[in-house]
């Protein structure tokens, strides 16, 4: 009997998908009853609040600063663009722990900027400001590089045509470039979101307190073991995954429409 090659390929892809999703079965592992009471519950809920609120703040700043920067880079000539892209890659390529240590030293009481900020009462270690600034460093490179790619995908001919039809550059950006790149921007934002909300290495150095979800997961693991980790892990996945997943699905639907 001859087997359709397409079915063989489909079976191979299904096996690959199973292997990829297999770790999620650990959510049903027999590790005893999950702990969700007393200290565990309070600290877990606090970490959820910290992560969602402060990551939200970080994302607002990333978008507000990163979008115009990306728009500028997208219009640069190739040499200048390569320079800016190389700069943006630095925080992405730094090992998270190394980034955390560097941020603590640079913005801590021993750094020039840190001293200056302390003068104004802004403490950059173990504070909300430290948490947000670390997340900005972690996520901004991902967002800006993604946004540059999104702006690149908007044909220059359309932007020129809009200008020739009488629109000033700011209006061309708002009425043509931004709407046509919105899904690319959303993808960039979702990647930055999932990267920042899940950041552990850098944040554990700069902002052990207030603890976000990744740090709290680690604390729970060290202090109470796996049964205290699982409830928070479920909440963490529910908070971090839906946005990028949904955006990715929407982007693919539009591409194939």
């Amino acid at each position: 009997m001859r087997v359709d090659r397409r079915w063989l390929a489909r079976a191979g892809a299904a096996l690959f998908a199973l292997a990829l999703l297999y770790p999620l079965t650990a959510l049903f592992a027999h590790i005893g009853p999950w702990q969700w009471g007393g200290d565990v519950r309070g600290s877990a809920l606090s970490s959820v609040r910290v992560s969602l609120l402060l990551t939200g703040c970080a994302m607002v700043i990333i978008v507000a600063v990163g979008t115009p920067v990306a728009a500028y880079i997208a219009r640069c000539r190739i040499r200048e663009r390569l320079f800016w892209q190389a700069v943006l890659l630095v925080p992405i390529l730094l090992p998270p722990l190394a980034l955390g240590i560097l941020l603590t030293l640079a913005f801590g009481p021993h750094g020039t900027v840190g001293k200056c900020l302390e003068h104004f009462g802004i403490v950059m270690t173990n504070s909300a400001a430290a948490f947000v600034s670390t997340q900005i460093y972690v996520g901004v490179g991902y967002y800006v590089l993604g946004a540059v790619a999104a702006f690149d995908a908007v044909p220059l001919t359309l932007q020129n045509q809009a200008a020739l039809l009488g629109l000033a550059p700011r209006k061309v950006f708002l009425r043509v470039t931004l709407p046509l790149s919105r899904l690319g921007l959303a993808v960039a934002l979702s990647i930055a979101w999932v990267r920042t909300i899940g950041e552990f290495g850098a944040v554990v150095v700069t902002a052990y307190y207030p603890s976000g979800m990744p740090v709290q997961l680690w604390v729970n693991l060290q202090s109470f073991g796996l049964p205290a980790v699982m409830p928070l892990l479920v909440v963490f996945l529910a908070a971090a995954l839906p946005l990028p997943w949904l955006v990715h699905v929407l982007a693919q639907r539009q591409r194939h429409a």
Binding site: L158, L164, L165, V172, L180
Partner: protein, 235 residues
């Protein structure tokens, strides 16, 4: 009145051309691929900046210094209709029109006239991304005319269209140029298109330089160079 002297170095050639065009008249630029025809239009439109020379339309100095695109008030049609895919046909046609002008009754009537004359009524509310290539050319023509530009630049806007549609679009352009009195510079590979659009004035280009100027009939009857003769000879 358009006055221009454009010097622009390309990969292998240097475009070096002087043009003058009276208000309401039309000019056809003819030549082989790579002769510099589109470069001239791009320099006038401001898509490219000349290396040297000047471009002036009436009292408005386009170059030097380079005037921003949105202040030039010209129409520019290319091979690509360049419609905004996230907008409807009606929104494309009204694109760039100020709110005050859009609210004006006379302007609304003008848009309706364009819509009816260019047979856009059936697709007026359709998304621009879903209309055919021929319909898109009509929409881009309507969009350009909606602002009543004093100068229209046509860079092979009929490429890839069937002859019937090309004939209709040419007739529309001639009709509107007479009605609105705009000047027109057209570039095309097909001599017959330019002959119909711009019978009075033609310029033949080779390697960025003008090799012949005159009426289309003169160009066709006594081409100045062997290449020009070859280009004008039917297949």
């Amino acid at each position: 009145m358009l006055k221009a002297h454009i010097v622009k170095k390309r990969c292998e050639i240097t475009v070096n051309v002087s043009l003058e065009l009276d208000k309401g008249s039309s000019l056809g630029l003819f030549g082989a691929s790579g002769a510099g025809k589109s470069t001239i239009l791009a320099c006038i439109a401001g898509i490219e900046e000349p290396d040297d020379g000047y471009v002036k339309l009436g009292n408005l100095q386009f170059f030097p210094p380079s005037l921003p695109l949105h202040k030039r008030h010209i129409g520019y049609l290319t091979q690509e209709p360049g419609l905004f895919p996230h907008l409807r046909v009606s929104e494309n046609v009204s694109f760039g029109i100020s709110n005050e002008l859009a609210a004006d009754k006379e302007h609304s009537h003008w848009i309706e006239t364009l819509r009816d004359r260019l047979q856009l009524a059936p697709l007026w509310h359709a998304p621009a991304s879903l209309i055919s290539g021929g319909q898109a050319r009509r929409v881009s023509l309507a969009r350009m005319l909606a602002r009543k530009p004093p100068l229209v630049l046509l860079d092979e806007p009929f490429a890839g269209l069937d002859r019937q549609l090309v004939r209709e679009l040419i007739d529309d352009l001639i009709f509107w140029s007479r009605t609105l009195g705009f000047s027109m510079i057209a570039v095309d590979h097909q001599a017959e298109v330019l002959k119909r659009l711009c019978p009075e004035q033609a310029i033949a280009l080779e390697a960025g330089e003008i090799v012949q100027r005159g009426k289309w009939d003169e160009l066709c009857s006594t081409p100045a160079t062997p290449l020009l003769r070859s280009l004008l000879t039917p297949l």
